[in-house]
């Protein structure tokens, strides 16, 4: 069958020349546009935190278990000039999108009360901006040893040994009002990037609903962030009541405490700021 010069038929072996020329032009346009678009879309991203999730690598830590208001493992990191030990708290977090409490309760059901005892645990480290968390990846099997509190030993190979501080009590920093975004510390510290913001909101809701303590991320003008763990004024978890405010701008007021390297905000005052560009610009928020 003769090819019609002015008519295209897909099942013919070859398209007529004018059609081939048009398609060639379209392909050249795409060949130029596609790389430019890919480049622009990547280049203009806000960037990602330097948080680290040591996925697949288990670390053994030894320290004092602190259960309230949120579960920590308290370990010494160095000694100061006055020979006063400096401690760091590692936030304990459960496997998947769950808090550590269910795993800790299982441990206690087997071994009795563990609070303020020395625990040797194995898990996956997550750390960023001077804060660290340990995911109890192996759940029940993550607890290797339990012992009574004792004086420190010399640190050995990959195991951080601790020296007990008699004063594990947090320091009261007074009343504060803070504005920021509530997210979950597991993602924020490095499991997900970004671990905050609108696309991550539903994940943060799942993590907090699963028992991971909520975290207030407060950014200053230079994009540096401070993090505050949030609990009720009496130290009880407020996870369930705060879910609707996760992942959006909020203002919180309450008592601030410093627990070694972590800040803990005791609050029941959560006010949504609702300052999104869409709400302000269009004023089409429906059924307000």
């Amino acid at each position: 069958m003769k090819t019609e010069i002015d008519f295209y038929i897909g099942w013919q072996a070859k398209a007529p020349l004018p059609f081939r020329r048009a398609v060639r032009r379209a392909i050249i346009t795409m060949a130029v546009t596609v790389p430019i678009l890919a480049g622009l879309l990547v280049w203009k991203q806000r960037g990602f935190s330097g948080g680290v999730f040591e996925y697949g690598k288990l670390t053994i830590l030894e320290g004092e278990l602190i259960r309230t208001p949120v579960p920590f493992l308290r370990i010494p990191v160095k000694q100061t000039v006055g020979n006063v030990p400096l401690f760091e708290r590692i936030l304990l977090i459960g496997y998947n999108k769950r808090g550590a409490d269910s795993t800790l309760n299982q441990w206690e059901a087997k071994r009795g009360t563990l609070a303020n005892k020395t625990l040797t645990v194995r898990g996956t480290l997550i750390y960023h901006d001077g804060k660290a968390a340990l995911e109890l990846t192996e759940e029940n099997d993550a607890l290797l040893r339990v012992s009574a509190l004792k004086e420190s030993d010399v640190p050995t190979h990959n195991m951080a040994r601790f020296q007990l501080s008699p004063s594990a009590s947090p320091v009261n920093l007074g009343m504060v009002t803070l504005s920021g975004e509530i997210t979950d510390p597991k993602c924020m510290l490095g499991v997900m990037k970004p671990g905050e913001g609108r696309p991550h909101r539903s994940c943060a809701v799942r993590c907090i609903a699963g028992g991971i303590p909520p975290l207030l991320s407060v950014r200053n003008g230079t994009d540096h962030a401070n993090y505050y763990l949030i609990v009720e004024p009496d130290g009880q978890p407020l996870n369930a009541s705060i879910l609707k405010d996760v992942g959006r701008p909020v203002q919180l007021s309450g008592r601030l405490e410093k627990a070694d390297n972590w800040l803990i905000l005791y609050t029941d005052s959560v006010r949504a700021l609702a300052k999104t560009k869409l709400d302000e610009g269009s004023q089409i928020a429906m059924c307000r």
Partner: protein, 343 residues
């Protein structure tokens, strides 16, 4: 055209088309993922996959939606239309990768199931800016799934072209859902004005091309045809139609294509049985009306596809008085032979 259903009736142009799709998909993913690794080494692999596939699928959707009006504006782009369904299915598969990774990343391993989490994690359905944008993406994917699953000619024939075409017009609903998904989702986090500009350019291009195509396709008001006493209507002069080409008329609600060829005139329904393609924009090749969209063919005198094919379109009685063409707008059953009208 085929007598039996095959997964894909491959031919050279389909092969070239699919290689082009694969090439552009590979090029985009290579550049996107490579630049992510170079410019943002801290990013996680999951985020790279989610963002690379989402932006690629959205870009492909724009291309898919541009092809139709481009072909209306310039038929030389018709080769892009010929195998568009492969582009659509590819776009669906890439969207599915984005959706599965997003669902696993944000909604799996929690205290409720993934689908329940999808619909309940963000319960603020009442506020525009807080609307759970991920549900919009979910419904867009569902529509794409139905379209991809029914893209084969088996479904086209069994659902009937009219229903199939209506179903596949859902791509415009998908586009609207995805624009809102992007606007209420990632653009609330990635606040560079470039993203807003790119999105606006995309929407303006799609809307503009469709409006331009509609404007070009709009036929000026035709003079009211003269109706004879025998039900025939005078439609045009035979010299108004190029040899082997057609003129289309809308008479009494009938979309009629009147072909001139070899000193004869025939009239058939303007809609191809395959995908309702515009037969009147086709051409008589080897004695058959050939649809410009996918090359389906019909004999002008009886509206039947040449044996062994079985497609049929409605035919209309035609007569020539001098050089004036008269058509009876009452359709005969598909495949009904008509008396040849000579001029």
């Amino acid at each position: 055209m085929a007598l039996h259903y095959q997964a894909v009736s491959w031919n050279r142009q389909k092969t070239l088309y699919d290689w082009a799709i694969a090439g552009f998909v590979g090029l985009y993913l290579l550049i996107f993922c490579g630049l992510q690794a170079i410019l943002f080494p801290d990013v996680t692999a999951e985020t790279v996959i989610i963002r690379a596939t989402s932006t690629l699928a959205f870009l492909m959707l724009h291309v898919i939606l541009m092809i139709g009006p481009l072909c209306r504006l310039n038929p030389r782009f018709l080769p892009l239309l010929y195998n568009r369904r492969h582009l659509g299915v590819s776009m669906f598969l890439i969207s599915a990768v984005h959706s599965v990774f997003s669902l696993l990343q944000f909604h799996s391993r929690g205290n409720v199931g993934m689908l329940k989490s999808l619909f309940t994690s963000e319960p603020d359905y009442r506020h525009f800016s807080q609307f759970p944008f991920q549900t919009l993406g979910f419904f867009a994917l569902l529509i794409l799934l139905v379209m991809a699953a029914t893209s084969h000619d088996f479904w086209l024939k069994n659902l009937t072209p009219r229903l199939w075409k209506t179903l596949h017009m859902g791509v415009y609903v998908v586009y609207g859902l995805i624009v809102m998904h992007v606007l209420l989702g990632v653009l609330q986090q990635e606040t560079s004005s470039l993203y807003v500009i790119l999105l606006a350019c995309g929407v303006v291009t799609i809307v503009g091309l469709h409006l331009a195509a509609a404007f070009v396709s709009h036929q000026p008001n035709q003079p009211a045809p003269k109706t004879g006493t025998d039900g025939f209507v005078s439609v045009c002069d035979v010299n108004d139609i190029h040899e082997n080409r057609a003129k289309t008329m809308l008479i009494n609600g009938q979309n009629i294509a009147i072909f001139r060829y070899d000193g004869k005139v025939s009239a058939v329904n303007n809609q191809c049985r395959h995908q309702n393609g515009p037969l009147g924009e086709g051409k008589i090749i080897d004695g058959c009306i050939t649809c410009p969209w996918h090359g389906y063919q019909y004999q002008p005198q009886n509206g039947q596809s040449p044996p062994p094919f079985t497609e049929k379109v409605e035919t209309y009685a035609v007569k020539c008085i001098g050089t004036t063409i008269w058509v009876n707008p009452t359709p005969s059953l598909p495949g009904t032979p008509q008396t040849t009208a000579f001029f």
